[in-house]
């Protein structure tokens, strides 16, 4: 093997390593929704090895995912090459993973933001899509806490105004 081939191979190796270790879930799906790539994040959180999921249909692996809904969601990604988004506010999670911080976290599961992005092949068509899963549990937790705080503050101020108006009478 020539020197440049080896270099390419080495580069490919660390690129793959990066994909594997980045703290974001990366899943590549083909048009039939078979899993093509399943990175370390997905492996650790789901407990499923890449060898267990590779070339298997997402809906068989995770029967709780609503198939018609998910297919509809991916349609524009395949056909229009636009991205699609899912937020935790809309759906707390797509994959039910336990909280990253099982001891100090207050939520049982991981809240997820998900981006579906088209992978355009050399011929310009989209044969595969990339799904990126972000852990937003901390954001969700603090937003929920903030909201409950706002509710209690407004309740309290309502009470005090009532007392004030009673005072005046």
């Amino acid at each position: 093997m020539s020197q440049s081939n080896i270099e390419d191979l080495l580069e490919f190796h660390w690129l793959m390593d990066m994909l594997q270790t980045v703290d974001v879930g990366i899943v590549v799906l083909d048009k039939q929704f078979n899993v093509k790539v399943w990175n370390g994040f997905m492996e650790s959180h789901s407990g499923l090895l890449p060898s267990q999921v590779r070339d298997k249909c997402l809906f068989d692996l995770f029967p709780h995912i609503n198939k018609p809904w998910f297919v509809r969601k991916t349609k524009p990604v395949f056909e229009l090459k636009t991205r699609a988004f899912m937020t935790w506010e809309q759906r707390p999670y797509l994959f039910k993973f336990p909280n990253y911080r099982p001891i100090t976290g207050s939520e049982d599961f991981m809240y997820q933001n998900i981006t579906l992005s088209p992978l355009v092949a050399a011929n310009g068509t989209v044969e595969n899509i990339c799904m990126m899963i972000y852990d937003v549990t901390d954001v969700a937790e603090s937003k929920k806490q903030l909201e409950s705080l706002q509710v209690s503050v407004s309740e309290q101020s309502e009470r005090t105004t009532k007392i004030h108006s009673l005072d005046k009478i």
Partner: protein, 330 residues
């Protein structure tokens, strides 16, 4: 004529403030003895600018600010008070006051504050300060948006099986206050819902704003082939999906024209009134005006009305103008 309302329970203080107004500023001055009178006067159009004291009977300054905020009264407020605690400053600012001046007020300080907030424009400055855009550049932006829209419309028509009435893009420089009004409108009327999404290309950044009237939800859901009953959760989903399709197709069209790719951040729901005003308030100092491309969509045979607004930062315009320079040449 510009109207100034001075609200203070002390007659001495009212006179003192009135004397401090810039001599050469032609304004109609009105007075109020407490907050309730001030609110009434503003409602009667007597207070484009309100100079407000804090400690007053009947309705104090804080309550007045609250009322102005609640009823969305069109007035700019500068608080003039003897209360010099830092917390008082913070509190009135958070309630929407532009500035805080300590009593007794001095003419030069008042003038500086008026200038700082562009309330009193120096002679000749007024016309210059109006947002304006070189017609040639406006044309270019309009044209590239038209082309991008054409492509986006074609995509949409194919995926939704409907005829898309292509909107005429409205290209303008808008001021922060205008955007503020627009967003407050979204947050206030429960009849519309909005989403915003940041986008980023090399040297170009901005935000896309998607606003859908609530009466459109049923139709959009049908077009997106959603069979479930359209409850709150589904509405959010419809909003997200419609927004990503429209924003995505438009951005890729614009990107093609500008020869750059855009990445998109995660969309954020603009629902709660509070988050909207905070969103803009935090950014208030960073920018004054921005390039806005407004698109208003309609779909044939459906009562769907939605607006898409692309806002570009001022710095982005330089890069975009350079990229589009070839279109400007004769």
């Amino acid at each position: 004529m510009y109207s100034v309302l001075i609200c203070d329970d002390s007659m001495v203080a009212r006179k003192q403030v009135a004397k401090c107004l810039p001599q050469d500023w032609e304004v109609a001055v009105h007075f109020a003895k407490h907050g309730a009178e001030a609110v009434q006067a503003i409602n009667e159009g007597k207070g484009q600018l309100l100079l407000l004291d804090l400690n007053m009977p009947v309705m104090d300054g804080y309550q007045t600010l609250q009322a102005i905020k609640e009823h969305k009264l069109a007035t700019k407020v500068i608080v003039i008070s003897g209360d010099i605690q830092p917390e008082a400053h913070e509190r009135v600012k958070s309630l929407g006051a532009l500035a805080f001046i300590e009593k007794p007020v001095k003419p030069d300080i008042l003038e500086a504050v008026l200038n700082e907030h562009k309330i009193r424009l120096k002679a000749g400055e007024e016309s210059e300060d109006e947002p304006s855009l070189d017609p040639a550049i406006r044309d270019v932006y309009q044209e590239i948006t038209n082309i991008a829209m054409g492509q986006a419309g074609d995509h949409l028509a194919r995926i939704l099986n409907v005829f898309v009435r292509l909107p005429i893009p409205n290209v303008n420089l808008i001021e922060v206050s205008e955007l503020h009004m627009m967003l407050t409108d979204v947050a206030e009327k429960d009849a519309v819902s909005g989403i915003c999404q940041g986008f980023l290309g090399p040297g170009v950044s901005g935000e896309a704003l998607f606003i859908l009237s609530d009466s459109s939800f049923g139709d959009v859901a049908r077009m997106l082939d959603i069979k479930e009953e359209v409850d709150d959760r589904i509405q959010l989903e419809v909003l997200m999906d419609a927004a990503s399709i429209l924003i995505g197709t438009c951005l890729s069209g614009l990107g093609e024209q500008l020869d750059m790719g855009f990445s998109q951040g995660h969309p954020v729901v603009l629902g709660q009134h509070r988050s909207v005003s905070e969103l803009i308030a935090a950014n208030r100092l960073k920018w004054r005006r921005t390039l806005a491309i407004e698109l208003s969509y309609g779909l044939e045979g459906y009562s769907v009305q939605c607006d898409l607004i692309f806002l570009f930062t001022e710095e982005s315009m330089q890069i975009m103008n350079a990229k589009l320079a070839h279109l400007l040449e004769d």
